[in-house]
Point group: C3
């Protein structure tokens, strides 16, 4: 049982921080989309918990943690209240939120990879589920409000690559039996740092090769 | 085992009425979206069964009831036939359909909360799953046809609140061990009545606080 | 255990061909949508594996085959590489791809129906899950990139009907206990042939009856 890299209390605290920040990002998008307070709460819940719920369904961990641990479920409601009453202030500290979101990305890709391994999946599936844990909620958030998922867009800074690297490091650590609280934290820090660098320098993934004329630039559809 | 508030036959009959009405709403949207008859059938199935299927996946009740009970699966096809041949007439009785939809909302939030409790989930998750049972199919319907889910929109009459109240009453009844056919029906009636009042007086949920200028009005995106 | 109509090696080879072709169609849509290479990979994975993953969640076969069989997961990545480097060439052989996609449709509706039956579901659910296996990935692909699922659109050649016929034949073969490698292949061929004819002669499903004026033509929404 490697899933407790940390003591349960520490793990829970880290999870709640990640959930809270992801929920803020969902709630802020709901405000921009002019949704009502229930729409804000739904989008906060989906963004914060969607990736983990999908992972748990895939690995057969039902009911998913989000439906068993009251703290996981109530934290996005708390974030919704913050957004409802303080969204101008929250938006003003958007830089801080991006830092925290990057931290959530790092934590969740590590935690997701470890949990998938605990349920007996292979290394490739572990990595995929680590990425899904980190990025799935954001995709569900965007689909719900009819936006092309920012994860898929070439004109957004890298998000999948940091998660892939973090999950990949954990999978390697597991296979060489060197996953500990220290090395797991290091993997999360690598993912976090990559994401911060991607934001800072606007690193983007390439598109398909030989895309032809640059007129494609700026078109989000065809 | 509290899930049989009613005799199985009565429960099944109530379920089928709710499924039929939800399927009508899905089928009518498909007609407005100019879909073909298979699109109508798919949207009817998804609207009627989507919430319950999601709940069953979450609580680990697989295969979901919709895939075990032939009546659950075939009823939306019957509703599709009605829509295909009689959609102008069905639209003309839209008021009646909204009444029946409100009844479905009441029945499903109660049934979903009870089923989640039967599978051992806690009160908060029971309430969440009651709401998902009642409203999840409509969200899936809207996502499939690229519409912002009406559940999330501030310019639509309250839908989540009646479901929340109905599910909440059931959770309280369970905790004080007073859930019976009579009190369960009363909870469904409360949800039904709230929804009817919301429709009648166009009750809406507020948006985020201090939204600033009223120019936001009418913008559905940014 | 009827799920092995063929020897495991033959079944695996057929599955991989179907997965590869479905992944190409997802990757090509991603290129048209101007997504980056990770978007291409995600859309390829979702298109190729989405239907089967949903079926496996419904029947309780967790973790789904796509997360247990490394070949299933890696094949869409291979298809993504092909799309990234050769998409103009791939688009040029679009006719060939449509043939292969029709073959995938035939294979997947048969395999999905058989697997659902193996897990103890009834005939109606078997047919539904056969269709979901064949068509679910394409629906998920379209929803992810904000397009009305082509499965639902009246202005696209029949897709659901060939899958329905193929799945239906298999369900009948199972009930009369005549499902063999030969008859199963025949069912897949019937679905394949119907799909090819639908493409060739642009067969479409009708819309709701008495749609009124033909001005509806060409409107995809209202």
């Amino acid at each position: 049982m490697t899933s407790h890299l940390f003591s349960p209390d520490v793990q829970q605290a880290l999870d709640l921080v990640g959930i809270f920040v992801f929920a803020l990002s969902g709630g802020l998008l709901a405000v921009r989309k002019n949704l009502d307070i229930f729409g804000i709460a739904v989008l906060a819940e989906v963004t914060a918990l969607g990736g983990g719920v999908f992972r748990d369904l895939i690995i057969g961990a039902v009911p998913p943690a989000a439906f068993q641990n009251m703290g996981y479920f109530l934290t996005p409601l708390l974030a919704s209240l913050v957004v409802i009453f303080l969204h101008p202030e929250v938006q003003r500290i958007n830089g801080t939120i991006q830092v925290l979101d990057a931290a959530g990305l790092g934590l969740f890709c590590v935690a997701g990879t470890v949990k998938a391994h605990d349920y007996g999946l292979g290394a490739v599936a572990d990595i995929a589920l680590g990425m899904i844990t980190a990025a799935g909620g954001g995709v569900a958030r965007d689909v719900l409000v009819n936006e092309l998922p920012s994860l898929l867009r070439w004109d957004r800074a890298l998000y999948a690559v940091p998660a892939l690297v973090g999950s990949g490091i954990v999978a390697v650590l597991i296979s060489v039996q060197h996953l500990t609280a220290v090395t797991g934290t290091a993997a999360a820090l690598v993912a976090f740092t990559l994401r911060m660098l991607a934001l800072r320098y606007d690193w983007r993934a390439p598109r398909a090769w030989h895309r032809g004329s640059s007129s494609a630039l700026g078109e989000s559809g065809d």
